[in-house]
Amino acid sequence: MSSGSGNVQNGPAVSTSSKKSLRVFSDDIWKNKTAKINAELFTLTYGSIVSQLCTDFQRDFNKVNDQLFAMGYNIGLRLIEDFLARTALPRCDTLVKTSEVISKCAFKIFLNMTPQVSNWSNNKDVFSLILDENPLSDFVELPMDASKELWYSNILCGVLKGAMEMVQLDCDVWFVSDVLRGDQHSEIRVKLNRILKDEIPAGED
């Protein structure tokens, strides 16, 4: 009942048909089983939060990054339960599979977007999520003093970190580029450190 477990490193690639069905499955949840809200209200609210943090931390953008990450982490810890309850997806047996679930299902049913999964490391323990769109960062132009330091959407990294930890995947998650900084893409890097064995709740699988 969770999206991560043992035997991650060398698992087989997911077949095309299951990719397709995951997409159809997620589209159906988004269209028919998801309560929705105006995306711009979401955008503006996040903007208000980030802007306030920049003031609170006196434009120490590294602290702002950390705070956004911490907020995301707290969200991730709670969000995974909602995600599993809504999707009832089985445990993923590889990180490749996990990455597909994150991009095609999790991003889809929460934010109605599907980042591309790419840039796998050779031993399949690091991958990237390429965000072609990002409702958090609409309407944003970074001020000059922030454009080298602030990862505006860093809350997303925290969410991924927290959510994956709850399914026994200890990961590092960080932004490597952001279109707000003038980069070509917005790219989040996810690196699996290890699989947590000790805290698998009773009754799983």
């Binding site: 503006l44 903007g47 208000s48 802007s51 309407f139 132009e141």
Partner: protein, 170 residues
């Protein structure tokens, strides 16, 4: 015609200013140029009065660009564009209010440079203001922008200048 344009915040502080000229036009004579901010400031009281009139465009400017030009666009009864609100020797001053009551003001100088009355081409000027209003809404949407702060974005600046080329200083 050369123009001096400013957006004035709710505390009567300028949040953006620019001067528009073009190759075949004179710029403002230097002695006038320094007066521009003061001429403009003097017109703010007039705008604050027009702000609360139901039909601000019919309130003033019975001379020059008044009745005739407007009657051709009589279906246009919005109260954002205030048309010509004041004049100072040969200069004409126009105004525009955004929904958040940012004051957009412009001093138009006679292109002939002979001190004659400056004519206002209302449809063009209105179009310019509406487009700048749109840019202002975008600037405001940026969460890092605080109301009444100067708008320092180079992109905003260059877009306003392109609009001036398109509508004002042809």
């Amino acid at each position: 015609m050369p123009c001096y344009f400013a957006i004035i915040g709710s505390r009567d502080n300028p949040i953006y200013e620019a001067e528009f000229t073009s190759p075949h036009l004179n710029s403002f004579p230097s002695e006038l140029k320094e007066l521009n901010p003061f001429i403009l400031h003097a017109s703010l009281d007039i705008i604050e009065d027009l702000q609360w009139q139901s039909n601000p465009q019919s309130g003033v400017g019975t001379n020059t660009s008044g009745g005739f030009l407007r009657s051709r666009h009589s279906n246009n009864n919005d109260n954002c564009y205030l048309s010509k609100i004041d004049h100072f020797y040969g200069l004409a001053i126009t105004g525009y209010l955004s929904y958040g009551n940012m004051k957009f003001v412009m001093i138009h100088s006679n292109s002939a440079g002979n001190g004659g009355t400056t004519q206002i081409d209302d449809p063009q000027v209105r179009a310019f203001y509406q487009e700048v209003h749109e840019l202002y809404v975008k600037a405001l949407l940026n969460p890092f922008y605080k109301l009444n702060d100067p708008i320092t974005s180079p992109v905003f600046d260059s877009k306003v200048r392109s609009l001036a080329k398109k509508y004002l200083t042809k």
